[in-house]
Subunit: 434 residues, 2 copies
Amino acid sequence: MPSTLDATSATTSDAPAQASPARALVCRGCGKEYPLAAQHACYECFGPLEVAYDQAALARVTRAQIEAGPHSIWRYAALLPAGQDPASRVTLDPGLTPLVSAPRLAEELGLRGPLWVKDDSANPTHSFKDRVVSVALTAARGLGFSRFACASTGNLANSVAAHAARAGVPSIVFIPGDLEPGKVVTTAVYGGDLVAIEGSYDDVNRLCSELVETDEFEDTAFVNVNVRPYYAEGSKTLGYEVAEQLGWRLPEQVVIPMASGELLTKVDKAFSELVEIGLVEAPANGWRVFGAQSAGCNPIAVALHNGVSEITPVKPVGIAKSLNIGDPAAGLYALEAVRRSGGWMDYASDDEIRDAIQLLARTTGVFAETAGGVTVAVLKKLVESGKLDPDAETVVFNTGEGLKTIDAVAEQVGPTYRIKPSLRGARDAGLLGG
Amino acid sequence: MPSTLDATSATTSDAPAQASPARALVCRGCGKEYPLAAQHACYECFGPLEVAYDQAALARVTRAQIEAGPHSIWRYAALLPAGQDPASRVTLDPGLTPLVSAPRLAEELGLRGPLWVKDDSANPTHSFKDRVVSVALTAARGLGFSRFACASTGNLANSVAAHAARAGVPSIVFIPGDLEPGKVVTTAVYGGDLVAIEGSYDDVNRLCSELVETDEFEDTAFVNVNVRPYYAEGSKTLGYEVAEQLGWRLPEQVVIPMASGELLTKVDKAFSELVEIGLVEAPANGWRVFGAQSAGCNPIAVALHNGVSEITPVKPVGIAKSLNIGDPAAGLYALEAVRRSGGWMDYASDDEIRDAIQLLARTTGVFAETAGGVTVAVLKKLVESGKLDPDAETVVFNTGEGLKTIDAVAEQVGPTYRIKPSLRGARDAGLLGG
């Protein structure tokens, strides 16, 4: 069933579909090119494939064209590998999430330049995964897939199940059998198939890689396996949005959480594209990319600190579960982007993550999941260590919603007063003077 | 400290502030008018006060002016009592939440006309309360208040605490002492004062009404007490948005959850205003307003069913806690709007609410809190009883986020398969044919 990409196959509108600017899949290792199909690894060198674009097509895109588009990632459709025809989209219309000015956070951290929080908890299922899932499933339907799947423990599962429900397409989501009930509910409620596997997340991933090769799953798109190159491109929209929301400028510094490392590389790619096609000018000294991990899962940051170009996988621990990928697929590319840009990486302990969630909430009104705590905690460390220029403009990314990881701070915060239900009770507690 | 409304008092921009179209507070009971101050009840008849507008000012508002505004409730600032000057706003910029087309939900319910879900879980703290809090706190700052407060058990507390954190203004939120830890965390994390009261929600409310009269709380705006008239107007934006998102048309039927009943009356008011000032035409047969309650708290619907014009307070029970107001302040006005429009009201049991949450999620990808389940369950009943025209265009309102009330459906949904981590396990479960 999987065929080459035909964005018009699901078209129900009479309007002619714009052409996709994507022209090929290209191996990040050896550079070999492949047609736009459901393939994620190079047959020659087993390197990961990435979408390559017709640069002339990208260069025709204008700011006015983007600004006239919808209030979602699809305003950037002309820079994406799928979704040019609105009727082809499998989507909850994520994106254009708030870029929140954070002067009080800046002040507490000792930053004198402008600081912004890009708050992706505002997406429909409250994480940045809605971006990548929308692009992956739109590409998948164009490629002829008729069932959507993923292996996940949280945000990705929510997003795939919700997208499938909106589109009326069957889904099958694979999760570890010991997942917390709350996380099971937020995927199961959408009514797709939900397979609990007696094993770890690594076991779940391994089984999905086997299932994708079977006849019974031939019609099934696993968003982060067989259509991964399209999936990964969805993260570019975070970079585009930051540039547009700053008035078509790039920030001088970005601080980005790393799981596979792909989000970081794609934001960097988005900035490069915007400069190449003339939609923004690069800052005088370029932009610098900073990566954030937790102490419980820090293989990319450790490689940077050790000055090596090889990543030693770890067995992840700690509360920042949505970032816990011990063998990060795009880690080397993230290292490369950070080194090239003159940035840095660091990692934060669970206690630092908890403190940073509260710091962010208290100073900006943004309640982040643990991944957002990681990023703010690392921002703090980067300021303290002098790696980050306190006078430059900085954007820090919150990729998820605090409601999904409430337990992380449940011991830290609570009522500041406990009183009896009377004015006397209020007075005794000091709320009414003496 | 509270003075008459001066929308420019917090202005930090050089741009001249637009004038507010609000001209007075007017008693809904006897019609007596008062200046725009921090007052919520008539000194003559103790009736509730409502904002009255300069109709000539409203009539100057154009579609183009609104469409050129920000992607938030503030595009309607010229129709609101506060926030005309962007610098005066105390806000997380809520609004313009998705109007989701729901053809599969319509089909399951037997609706042949277009069905839409207005999804207010997309607001910054994930409920419609962000709308009313933004308007209330903006008015409050204009009136000179320097601390923000509320009594709440959930959504309102989250929103007030987050707004105060964003604005850097002190807040003090009052909650019942036995609140679930999860709900405490989602307010406490923003770092304001949080007062747990040894008593019921009614006790909390009563104490707040007493505190608002004390010297120590003279500088404190309780959003749903002393600045309530401004607070209530924020709900109009839900009506404006539906009209604009339908292409400047009104739907023929709306189904709205009722707690105090105010949301329903304000959506109806918004529709009336838009017709009066010429921004939309009324549908040929007008619009019909339907109200939804839970069986555990149904005083307004029961009054309608009994054909009376007096509401008998109840002691609320049941899972739809965000709607559990046993003595609804705007209940009579909601009754009046529903009767005048030719609509109806009904109520749903906890089991029906649970089923409706799943139905909505499965057919639209929208995961609602229990209040959204109430509304969809009542929509279903209204179709079955023939009260709702299945051929007319209908909008159903989801006012909150499923992540906040996960326990409601935790027993109902779960994995559809449990397997061992191997292809054999998948085969044994029937995922791989025979």
